[in-house]
């Protein structure tokens, strides 16, 4: 049995647009966000994500699990970026120390030290902005895109029939296999299998993942025969595919696509002109009495 994403028709900004227009806008948003490390450019992009989120009509109870996970992940990621400057070496060369904390103990001769620098702090915020914007825009897609329109949407975006249908099926299968995975884990646990307590060397540990992976994969392949038969009976792939539902661009969709393209091209131009790289607000240097440079 197929499990579906929690889509339902809502009065929302996203669902006001043609799904093709929304996917194109999303792609432009993604591209634009990846170009920037500068908070001045990331802030409007985060604002766009927040506007989309608060006008999506998605209720908290529907997305609670997904959002708690992603918020936890983003905070964890940003916090450790702040602590360590991980990844920052690619975008800044120099660090200005605000304060250094040293643990009063040593671990095997190593004394844990936390260097809080202006660059690390700003980099962590920039990274938070990038991940938050992308995550919010991505999470909302399955909740707001009608599963009945997956195929026609991707076909409308120019993918060949078969590939469009494969992407359509992929999106449909993800929640189903997620459910199957959970059922398999529960079934194995009922038999005494404890995944969290798998012991042994690396090879033994990997082998012990098989009782989880093999049933899910083989069950999925076995189940595929029914889907294949159903598709064959409907002469899938014999001629150009037609879709029960059709999509037509309206004026607002064209405007949305234009806004997305302008955003992407504008971002490209800004980047080519040498802006958008990592930026530290000069006020921070003044605040901590550090001379920039």
């Amino acid at each position: 049995m197929l499990v579906t994403w929690r889509y339902r028709k809502r009065r929302s900004l996203i669902q006001w647009f043609d799904p093709r227009a929304w996917i194109l806008f999303y792609a432009c948003y993604l591209g634009s966000t990846l170009f920037f490390w500068d908070l001045r450019f990331l802030a409007p992009l985060v604002l766009v994500a927040l506007v989309v989120l608060f006008t999506s009509g998605v209720e908290w109870r529907e997305v609670r699990r997904a959002f708690l996970f992603i918020i936890g992940f983003i905070l964890f990621f940003s916090f450790f970026t702040f602590l360590t400057g991980r990844g920052g070496v690619e975008v800044y060369k120099e660090e200005h120390l605000i304060r250094s904390f040293q643990a009063p103990f040593t671990i095997l001769g190593w004394q844990p030290t936390l260097n809080v620098t202006i660059e690390r702090a700003v980099f962590a915020v920039s990274q938070w902005g990038r991940i938050f914007g992308i995550a919010v825009m991505t999470i909302l897609i399955p909740y707001t895109l009608d599963p009945a329109l997956y195929g026609v949407t991707f076909h409308g975006l120019g993918l060949p029939d078969k590939i469009a249908y494969a992407v359509d099926l992929t999106m449909r299968f993800v929640p189903t296999f997620g459910r199957d995975f959970q059922l398999t884990v529960d079934a194995q646990r009922a038999r005494g299998y404890e995944l969290e307590k798998v012991r042994g060397g690396l090879i033994a540990q990997v082998r012990k993942l098989a009782p989880i992976m093999v049933p899910v994969i083989i069950h999925a392949i076995m189940g595929s025969e029914d889907i294949i038969d159903a598709m064959d009976l409907r002469a899938f792939g014999i001629g150009p595919r037609t879709w029960v539902q059709t999509l037509e661009y309206k004026r607002r969709d064209r405007i949305l696509i234009a806004v997305g393209v302008v955003m992407l091209v504008g971002s490209l131009v800004v980047v080519f002109l040498g802006y958008g790289g990592f930026w530290v607000p000069p006020a921070l240097f003044r605040m901590f009495g550090i001379s920039a440079g």
Binding site: L169, T170, V174, E196, G237
Partner: protein, 312 residues
């Protein structure tokens, strides 16, 4: 060559040339900082095109083979493979689900899925499984998209499916083993002479390691360990060509696909070649080889059992 393929190939080639000219003229001649190699999102898309061109060239040279057929079954298998890879990538990314791990090896056993789907159902299914599955997996985790790594994962499945192009699978396996062996030894040698380079793929907050620690001896040598395991499987299953070929070709797919993605970061992120190999390729491809040697045979045997049972 049919018109559609010609136009796709030429379009990809044209886009590639435009990007390269942009990078060369803009970055090297005009000195525009963001067009120089380094942390550069533009170049990610160049490598997507390079990866697709590699697949297209192989397709063109062997286009008469039935391995390239895409019918109803392939479409469904593509979707199943990609969805499974996405789910297991999401779960084994180590954030939701406690995964057993050893030393500095971040386990990502899901890589066995594109290898298996590529081998069992062909290169097109393998490519789709790896590329689209990786994209969905990253999206589910909220990582964003890293297109060159998705194409690299696609190539893993694509290459794992290439034995369908060979009439004599046994002979092709030996050639693949030699190529894989040479690549594994070269990669291990690069690590040996650059042991002080950081492992950029490994993060262990509990031990205050954030990709700035050097990789352990085990992680550095994991590519050799994995290759030895592949060799053992190859000869232990000498009579079961399916298992031996799936593992051997999966190994080559892993070395070339992950190698492609890691090497592309030399230009995209400005890493030195040694840093790309030691910091990215080895920590990813080494453990992957171990998963290939252990999990792929289990999948192949289970799938053969299912085929016998259902008669399909």
């Amino acid at each position: 060559m049919d018109k559609k393929l010609t136009s796709i190939g030429l379009t990809l080639l044209a886009i590639l040339v435009i990007f390269l000219v942009l990078v060369y003229v803009g970055g090297n001649v005009m000195g525009i900082e963001r067009l120089k190699t380094g942390e550069n999102p533009l170049l990610r898309f160049v490598f997507v095109i390079v990866g697709l061109l590699i697949a297209l060239v192989i397709y063109y040279l062997t286009r008469q083979s039935p391995a390239w057929e895409v019918g109803t079954r392939q479409v469904v298998w593509m979707a199943i493979g990609a969805a499974l890879y996405a789910i297991f990538s999401f779960l084994f990314n180590g954030t939701v689900f406690v995964v057993p791990s050893l030393s500095q090896v971040a386990l990502r056993p899901a890589i066995a899925i594109p290898m298996f789907f590529g081998y069992a159902f062909g290169p097109v299914v393998g490519f789709f499984t790896g590329a689209v599955g990786n994209m969905f997996g990253d999206a589910l985790t909220g990582f964003g998209l890293f297109p060159q790594w998705s194409v690299g994962n696609g190539l893993v499945g694509f290459i794992a499916g290439l034995p369908l192009l060979f009439a004599d699978r046994k002979k092709s396996m030996d050639t693949v083993l030699w190529v894989g062996g040479v690549l594994a030894v070269v990669a291990a040698a690069i690590w040996y002479f650059n042991r002080s380079l950081p492992n950029m793929l490994f993060f262990d907050p509990a031990n205050n390691i954030f990709g700035d620690a050097t990789i352990t001896i085990f992680a550095g040598a994991s590519i050799i360990v994995g290759f030895v395991l592949v060799l053992i499987v190859r000869f232990a299953f000498a009579k079961n060509v399916d298992v031996a070929a799936a593992v051997t070709w999966g190994m080559l797919g892993n070395l070339l696909g992950i190698g492609f993605a890691a090497v592309s970061d030399i230009w995209i992120n400005g890493y030195s070649p040694a840093a790309a190999i030691v910091g990215e390729f080895l920590p990813a491809a080494g453990p992957n080889l171990i998963f290939a040697a252990i999990l792929v045979p289990l999948f192949v045997v289970a799938y053969a059992g299912m085929q016998r049972q259902t008669g399909r």
